[in-house]
Every structure is written in C-alpha cells, then in structure tokens.
C-alpha cells in the first residue's frame, strides 16, 4: 500500500520538479523551497526525498546537472530542463488536464 502511494507521489513529485525548473536552473535546496511554496504535503516524507527523484530524472534524460558557484561563493549542483524534459512536461500536463476535465464533467453531472 505504502509503495503504491509512494509511486503515485513519485509521479506528482516529478511533475513539480519539472515545473520548478521551467523558469530557470536551480540547485536542490532551491527546488525544495519553491515546491514548499506550492504544497507542503508533498515533502511530508522529508526534503531528502527530492534527491532520488532528481537523480532519476537526470538518468531518464529529462534534466541535466552541472556544478556552478552560488552568490555566496559555494559550490552547488545546478539542475536544468532538457529539451526532452520540456516536451515530456507539456505532454503530461496536457494529459492531466484532459483527465481532470473528464472527471469534473462526471462529478458535476448529478
């Protein structure tokens, strides 16, 4: 059961990461901050759960990473969307919109 929920959450988390990176490249902590602005429950299991997701997304070729220097002169790994990532995000978004519209229609028809 927990695994199923985890899988479902995993899908959602991926989407949020991709959305977060849409505007500009960011490091892991920065992504955490932004996601928390949108929804705190997602990271209920701990901020650290972000990192497996990041590494997996990179492996799937949806994001890429490189080491850069922050304003505070610290070394951090910055992530950015790849072209495939952008495409995947818009596909998933369209599908999500379609499904939720169908569900809404059913729910609103009494």
């Amino acid at each position: 059961m927990a695994k199923e929920r985890g899988d479902l959450l995993q899908g959602t988390l991926d989407m949020l990461v991709l959305k977060a990176l849409q505007l500009e490249p960011m490091h892991g902590w920065g992504i955490t901050e932004r996601i928390e602005q949108w929804s705190e429950s997602v990271l209920q299991l701990g901020q650290g759960t972000l990192y497996p997701a990041l590494y997996r997304l990179e492996r799937q070729g949806l994001i890429r990473s490189e080491w850069k220097v922050t304003e505070n002169n610290r070394q951090a790994r910055f992530y950015s969307l790849t072209r495939a990532g952008r495409r995947h995000f818009s596909d998933e978004l369209a599908q999500w919109r379609r499904m939720s519209r169908a569900i809404n229609l059913v729910l609103e028809t009494t």
Binding site: L8, L45, G46, Y51, R59, Q60, G61, R77
Partner: protein
C-alpha cells in the same frame, strides 16, 4: 523512446558512479547548510537550527541509499524483480503456463535432437588427418550411378600409374569365424590394405600397423584389433599384443589395437587384416571381389585433377583388359560424401519437419500470450498510469516470455533425450546411419537447445509485448477497448491461419509416408516367410577347400532334414533380396553376344533341390533341381519370370542355353547352362523392386558360405538349438547365425518404417498445437466481442445463432488455413518423392483426409468458446466495460 536514453545513461553512469557518489555528499551538505541558515535567520540558535534542518531533511541514511540506488545501474536488480514478478504471474495461470511450456518443450526438444543427429552424422569432421583430402574409389557402368566394387587387378594398375593420388589402399568387409577367448563367433571386420592406414592418417593406439611388406608378402599372418573388441571380448587384457587370434582357422598374431571409437568411413570393424596377396596375384585376379579403395590426394592436387586422371587411366585399362573393364569407368567421392550421401535426403526431410514443428510451437505460444493479454489490460493500464514507461512494461512482459522459453528449453532437454533414445531404438543397428551411436547430450547440444529457447522466446515474446503495451496506453487515453482489440484479433487470426496451414503440410507428408510404408509392408515377396528358420554357416577356408565345404553342407543338410519337426529344409548361398548374391552378366548361347555395354546382369543363386518347396516359391514351368544334377552332369539353371521376359521375350526358354560369367565347380567359366525350369519372381521388401534371378544347383556352383532354410509347423526358433547342434557336432569352430526369415525380411523395411513413424509423430504434435491455437484465438475473440454478443442477445438473438456466429468465424479461418496449407503441401511434398513407394506426391486421397481431419479437430476446438459465448447472460456482457 525515453527508455533508450535511460538505458544509455545507465550505462554511462557506471563510469561516473564514484564521481556521482562524492558529489552527492557535497550536495547534501550544501542543502543542510542552506536549511540551517534559513532556520537561524528565523531566530533559532545554531544547534537548534542544525537539528531542525536534519529533521526537515528526513532519514539521511535512507535518502543516501535511495539516491545511490538511482546512481547504481539497477539493471540487474530490476531484472531480478522482473523475473520474480514474471514467475509469480505465470504461476497464477497454471493452465496457460503448462500448455505453453509443453508446447515449447516439444518444439525445442525435437529441434535439439535433430540438430545433434545432423551434427554427429553430417557436420562433425571425420577423425582422420586432413579428411577433406581423402577420397573413395569405386567402379561403375559408364553412365551409371550404382557404386560397384573394384577389381584388384585395376587397383594394382592404379597404384602404379597414378600421379595425383597416394597411399592407395583397398577396403573390403569380411565376416570371419573369430576365436579369441573360447567360442568361435562370426564377427564383421575389414580387409584393409597397409596403405589404408596412411591414406587415413591413423595409427593404432597400441602396437603398430602392418607394413606393405607384410601385406603384399603374404607370409606372416597378422591382425589389428579394434579397441571395443579388445575391451569387450578380450577383457582388455594387458598381454593382447603378440597373442594369437584364429580367424577361419588361420592363426594370426595381434600386432596392434586401434584407438577407441575408430571406424573406417563409419563402418565399425572388430578387426583389420591385410589382403595378404602379392602384387602379381592381385594383378592376375579375375573378377571384382567386394572391396573399394581409398586414397589421399597428393600435395597441391585438386579433386577434379585426380578424378580426370583416374578416368584417363581407366580408359587405358579398358583397352588393355576389355573383358574386365569394357563399358565401365571409375567413380571418385570425397570421403565425407561416401559416408553421408545415402542418408542425406532422409536427414534433410527430418530437419524440415522439425523446423516446421518449432515454428508452429512459437506461433502457438504467441497466440496464447496475445489471447491472455486481453485479460491483463487493466493491470497494464494501471501500471502505466502509475508511472511505468512503455519500455519498462515491455521489458517486464518480455521477461515473462523469456521465463516461459527458459522453462520450455529445460523441459526441451528432457524431450531431446527421449528423442535420442527413440531414434536409437527405432533406427539403431538396422540402418547403418554412420556414427549414430555417438549421439549424446553434450555441451554443444545443450548450448544449442538453450540458444533455440532464447530465440523462440524473442520470437514469440516480442510481438505480444509490443501489441499489448500499445493497446494499453490507447485504452487509458481513449477510455475504449475496441480499436486495439480489433487489431489484435486480426493479428491472432493471421497466426492461426498460418498454424493451420503448417499443420496441413505436416499431416499430408505424414499421410503419404505412412501409406507408402503400408504398401511396402504389403508387398508380396514371392515366398512365404512365416515358419522358416534361417541358419548361416561359414567354414574356415584354411581347413575346408570348396569340395570339402560342399560335402560338409550336403551332410549337414541331410541331418537337419531328419530333425523332428522339420517339414522341408534347403540351402542357398545368400539371403532373399536384397541379400548379397553374386551378380554377373548373362547372355544367350543361340544369339550373338551383345556388345559389352549392353550386357544384362542377373543374380546367381546356388540352391539345393528342396529350396523352392521350402520357400513356397511357385514353379511356373519345367522342373526344379534333383539329386541327379551333379558337378559332372549337364549344367542346368532355373530362371525367374523377369529373366525370361528380359532374355527370351516371347520365346519358350525351356531347353535353351545361357552363358553365365561365373566359375563352374569344375573351374571353367565358359560352360553353357541349360534352362530347365521357370519360377515366380521374388521381390525385395525394401523398395519393391524385382530383379532377375538365375538359380543353379550348389553342386554345380559351389559356395563357401551356406544359409540353411528350415520350414517347420511349430515356432521356428524352437529348432534353433537343434540346428546349431547339428553343425557343431561336425565342426565345433564354425559359427552359426540363426534368425527367423520373418526377422530378416522385417529388417529390410526398417528405414521406411522409422521415417514414417517419426513424421507421423511430428504431424500429430502439430495437429495438437493447431487445435490449441484455434481454441486460443476463438476464446480471445469471444471475450473481445463480449459487448457485441451481449447486445445481440439483448436484442433477441437466439443462443443458437450466437453459437453459429462464433463457430462460423472459426471455420472461416480454418478454411483459409486449410486452403493455403494444401497449396503449400502440394509444393513441398514433391521433396519426398525419393522416399515414396507407389504413391504420388500429390495423392488426392491423402490430401483430402488431411484436410478433413484438421477441419474436424478445429471444429472441436472451437466448440468450447462458442458454447461459452452462447451461454453468456446479456446483462453481464453489457456490463463489462
């Protein structure tokens, strides 16, 4: 195509792993620092901020582990997980799994078995030095294809004149009474020239081979034993070298033992003996004997060069010795061809049959998988929604197929072992398929089996994996099942049609072979084989010259005739066809002798007077032989019907005279033989052929070996001991080979029987597979059309009409398959022509029966799904969406 990128990145990450892991530590440290800083700015103390940050982060160790999982190429773990999942899925559908595994085991196992046969018999290189440089030499009629044995005189000439061949040696089978340890026993060995060892490039494992001096000198009697003889009959005794072995009364010294499993061109021989004739005697020898020759191509010489040189030499010999060599020439074969040539067509037919069976098995399992995928659509849809990529799903399904294939492969090994045993039992000693006894489930066979399993797994696994995952994503997107379902159904239907067609081909082939075999069995051999015992006796040449042998046989025969239970007893120098009798040329005295190219030949059978009575061969005209036909009286002959047609067309043969190119008992070969009687032909049971035969009295053409035929009213084998006793009481060292005549005749049709049984087994297997295929596709179709059926039933259609609908659909498919199959069979059965006796490859009766059988089986297979469709309640049907 994300899974390609993913795979590639996984592979790349293997190299970057260390860097990634180090980077992770750095990254986490950065994160914690930032979070700590955030809390401090909110007003907490340094310690508390740090603690809070760690809490926010969550389990540090677990995060590191999960992330490292993503770094490490998890291919192996994923695959293990896939494997376990696949096994669980398969265990959950035991019926399907059993059917699929058994199907695959049959196909893979049979393929592996035939592969090992082909490999052992045809592909494995011969165990000689540079075997492709060795040739076999035979003689033949000019323009003919029959291999004839060579004349020793020609052999000597070739040996002296050839410049393209070296180490020319003769090889001839010989059966002798061998005394090694105790009892005399008839054993098969080879007369083998000393040069033969060098032609093959082999040496005895113990001791030495005999030299040319010993061979042509003829002095010391020597013998080289086979490894099996030494181990088996002599108990592997250490003092085997220099011990004495007696062959046909001649004492020989053992000078060598060959390595294990040594054969000369596939012929097993218990011993090798030299010809022991001087060159002069060989040159002066008339006639042909029973040997062929082997030789090695000289360095740098090609096969064609050697062949044309030998032909040229033979042309010279033809001019020098016309009565021996007229209208004949020489035949050369590469040694491998010599061994394999006769068996090749049968083996290739088997390979064809087995490949067909494997294809049918694959198609069937693919069918079953596709049919089952319909039931798994929901599962697949859910997994896709939860984030599984298509590549991942495909890999999952593919792994299931591989598990099936693996199980099928392992079970197939068992089937292959069974096939080996079956082949050996069916074929075994009766048919000299060379090296068949060396079949084993060794590494190459096992590897081949597993490779075949892998290939079939890919073959039948790929398509269902593709198709079912594509319909799945379609299903979730559009919320309907019809589009994908229809495409699937068309694919399934095509597969079943192909299966049915393949089955028809196999059924037709098996039908033809079986009918041919039954016809062979029904051949009237021209004599009565039941109730007759045969006993073959060979006397040692050293103690019995021809007259003494004749007296011995005459005396034995009269004693045997006096035994209780014996109705008739007679002797002949060779077995009924295709027994090895003398074959020589025959021409009429009262007509001019035909030119040498047109001389007819005939079998010559010396017999005792009671022969026709014993064998129940009807006399057509004239008389048989009697005691008055002796060596001093007029040479007489009794001929068979076909000889009369050949030589005397139209004329009454009785009283006319023939020249036969054979030695009379008085030593002359120019006697005139008077035809005193005509008998019915006897037929060979092997191929139904009739050959002209000339019978003569044994007193006039004596034989060294004699076969007694004893007719009795009781079980023939009950007389075996008595007959042996008679012979041994007169000559203790003479081996007696006792068999019933029925056994002898039966052994000649062993090969056609074996082949037709094998193909029939394959055909039955293919039929079962096709039945399963039809069932599978029909079951899927019914499930697929559940909605449609429900609507029809709800709108008032009768159950019977639904039944007919489903059944009709099935039969339509089958009809197409049968039609295509008949066409294919019509083309392919022509390949069987050589193996068929009195049956046309396009025999209509066989084809019709095959089609009818398949239609009946398909109808039965569709019955269950059709009934299920009929029984559906409309409400349930409509509800299933």
């Amino acid at each position: 195509m994300r899974w390609i990128t993913e795979g590639w990145n996984r592979i790349r990450s293997v190299g970057r792993r260390r860097a990634l892991e180090n980077g992770l530590d750095e990254e986490i440290r950065f994160h914690l620092d930032q979070q700590t800083e955030k809390h401090r700015r909110a007003g907490m103390s340094a310690d508390e901020a740090r603690r809070r940050a760690l809490l926010d982060f969550g389990g540090l160790a677990r995060v590191k582990e999960s992330t490292q999982d993503e770094i490490r190429p998890a291919l192996l773990e994923d695959s293990v997980r896939d494997l376990r999942y696949g096994v669980r899925v398969l265990r959950g559908a035991p019926g399907f799994t059993a059917a699929a595994v058994v199907t695959l085991a049959l196909g893979i196992g049979a393929t592996a078995a035939i592969f090992s046969v082909v490999r052992t018999v045809m592909l494995e290189p011969l165990p000689y030095r540079e075997p492709d440089r060795i040739v076999a030499v035979w003689e033949t009629n000019r323009g003919g294809t029959q291999r004839n044995t060579i004349a020793p005189a020609n052999f000597v000439a070739w040996r002296e004149r050839t410049r393209t061949l070296e180490h020319l040696g003769m090889v001839g089978p010989v059966t002798l009474a061998v005394v090694g340890n105790g009892q005399a026993e008839q054993m098969g060995g080879l007369s083998f020239s000393s040069d033969g060892f060098r032609a093959l490039g082999v040496q005895p494992a113990l001791g030495r081979a005999y030299t040319a001096a010993e061979d042509f000198g003829g002095g010391n009697a020597v013998i080289v034993l086979s490894h099996e003889f030494w181990q088996g009959r002599l108990g592997g005794r250490r003092d085997v070298l220099d011990m004495t072995i007696t062959t046909d009364g001649l004492r020989r010294t053992v000078i060598g033992v060959m390595p294990p499993a040594f054969t000369v061109v596939g012929q097993k021989a218990a011993f090798l003996i030299p010809y022991s004739e001087s060159i002069e005697r060989l040159r002066a020898a008339r006639g042909r004997g029973s040997s062929y020759a082997i030789a090695r191509l000289r360095e740098g010489v090609s096969f064609e060069q050697a062949y044309s040189e030998m032909r040229r030499i033979y042309a010279e010999l033809e001019k020098e010795a016309p009565q021996r060599n007229a209208a004949r020439t020489v035949m050369l074969f590469p040694l491998h061809e010599q061994m394999v040539g006769e068996v090749r067509p049968a083996l290739l037919a088997l390979v064809g049959a087995v490949v067909l069976v494997l294809l049918v098995a694959c198609v069937n399992v693919a069918n079953l998988l596709l049919a089952r995928s319909a039931a798994r659509e929901r599962e697949i849809g859910m997994r896709t929604a939860l984030g599984a990529g298509r590549g991942r799903l495909m890999r999952q399904m593919f792994t299931e197929s591989l598990v099936l294939a693996g199980a099928g492969g392992v079970a197939g090994l068992g089937v292959a072992a069974l096939c080996h045993r079956g082949l050996l039992v069916l074929v075994g000693d009766r048919i000299p398929i060379p090296r068949l006894d060396q079949l084993a489930l060794d590494l190459p066979v096992v590897a081949f089996t597993l490779a075949t399993a892998l290939a079939t797994g890919i073959l039948f696994g790929l398509v269902p994996a593709f198709v079912s995952t594509s319909t799945a994503s379609d299903a979730m997107r559009e919320g309907s099942r019809h589009g994908g379902g229809r495409r699937l159904h068309r694919l399934l239907s095509t597969l079943v049609v192909a299966e049915v067609a393949l089955s028809i081909v196999l059924l037709a082939g098996a039908g033809l072979l079986m009918r041919s075999f039954i016809k062979l069995q029904r051949i009237d051999p021209g004599f009565r084989a039941d109730g007759v015992l045969t006993a073959g006796v060979q006397l040692p040449a050293t103690r019995y010259d021809l007259p003494a042998a004749s007296r011995f046989y005459a005396e034995s025969l009269s004693r045997i005739s006096a035994l209780p239970g014996v109705q008739h007893a007679a002797g002949s120098s060779c077995l009924p066809p295709p027994g090895s009798c003398i074959v020589t040329s025959v021409w009429r005295v009262d007509r001019p002798k035909p030119p040498d190219g047109q001389l007819r030949s005939s079998q010559i059978r010396p017999i005792t007077p009671a022969f026709f009575r014993t064998m129940a061969i009807p006399q057509v005209a004239g008389r048989g032989f009697s005691e008055t036909d002796t060596a001093e009286s007029t040479p007489v002959a009794v001929v068979s019907d076909s000889l009369v047609r050949e030589q005397f067309a139209g004329d009454n043969p009785l009283g006319r005279r023939l020249h036969i190119n054979v030695d009379h008992a008085n030593g002359r070969s120019d006697m005139e033989w008077v035809v005193v009687g005509v008998v019915r032909d006897i037929r060979s049971s092997q191929d139904g052929a009739v050959r002209p035969i000339i019978y003569t009295p044994t007193t006039q053409i004596p034989a060294r070996g004699m076969r007694f035929f004893v007719r009795t009213g009781q079980d023939p084998l009950s007389l075996a001991t008595a007959v042996r006793g008679v012979v041994h009481s007169m000559e203790a060292e003479a081996p007696v080979d006792v068999r019933t005549l029925e056994e002898v005749v039966g052994s000649t049709i062993a090969r056609p029987r074996a082949i037709s049984v094998l193909v029939a087994v394959f055909a039955l297997v293919a039929l079962a597979l096709a039945a399963v295929g039809v069932y599978g596709v029909m079951a899927y179709s019914v499930r697929e059309r559940t909605q449609e059926i429900g609507v029809r039933l709800a709108l008032g259609a009768t159950a019977a009409s639904v039944f007919c609908l489903v059944l009709g659909q099935a039969l339509r498919l089958v009809f197409i398959g049968v039609g295509g199959g008949l066409v294919a069979a019509g083309i392919l059965t022509r390949l069987l022509e050589r193996l068929l006796y009195e049956i046309e490859p396009l025999d209509p009766w066989t084809f019709t029966v095959s089609a009818v059988v398949l239609l009946a089986v398909a109808a039965v297979a569709s019955y269950v799904p059709a009934r299920r469709g009929m029984r559906m309640a409309p409400v349930d049907a409509l509800r299933t969406n």
